[in-house]
Symmetry: C2
């Protein structure tokens, strides 16, 4: 079994252990899933052992995210920080740290966390003024 099975899997575990859910893959892409027929999630993972965790976004990723976003009520960007935790961004937060309109690539998001604290999130085009908690996920997506 591949790492992707484990890192996508840990997202499903967190979702399912919280409440019953209908989950399905979306499209041919390996990273999009649809929760309860209405919410889409895009999963990325980093296997770095310690903070900060960095996630890069190619032009095709941004295009896919925007395309999927238009088809569903919500889209969330789910960043799996190895076994440390999950940093989940809604689309507005995503657009705060990454400009989906500018053409400077590669774009990236960095999640930084000190022990016992939440994730400080910066990106190639901006930063969040507040922190994102590991425990915000999965409640945040409902």
């Amino acid at each position: 079994m591949n790492n992707i099975d484990f890192f996508h899997g840990v997202v499903f575990s967190r979702i399912i252990d919280n409440s019953p859910n209908h989950i399905e893959k979306y499209g041919g892409n390996n990273s999009f899933y649809i929760i309860n027929n209405k919410t889409s999630i895009y999963i990325k993972y980093s296997q770095k052992r310690i903070s900060p965790w960095t996630f890069s976004f190619a032009k095709t990723h941004i295009e896919e995210i925007n395309k999927v976003k238009n088809g569903f009520e919500n889209i969330f960007i789910v960043l799996v920080c190895n076994d440390n935790g999950i940093c989940c961004l809604n689309y507005q937060e995503f657009c705060t740290v990454i400009s989906v309109e500018s053409n400077d690539f590669p774009k990236w998001i960095k999640a930084r966390r000190q022990k016992g604290e939440k994730y400080a999130v910066t990106g190639s085009d901006g930063k969040l003024t507040y922190k994102i908690g590991d425990s915000d996920f999965p409640q945040k997506i409902y």
Copy 2:
């Protein structure tokens, strides 16, 4: 995040990547899940690096499996062999290798696999005369 989140998660990944599914936890126990409101699965994992992988069953586990079995169409015992693969037994196969009626504890199941082959399955009370393929899961549970 804990190992259990990753090892249960890899089971969910395999299920979801195969087809859309409704998945929920069952009861207070951490190891039972219900797929599409009709099939129950009981997940165990072994973190041993190489074959064989051994899974022990206490009296309470057997009692829980029998109790859950009575409530659903099917129950499957899903044995996660670290990152090697998944050995999924139906209830009849489970009862072939473990006598659910005898009172000798602890009971165990051992899955042994050579590279490129399927899992040979033995248990404290018997053995399967055929092998179980990693690729049988998840189709086997439908």
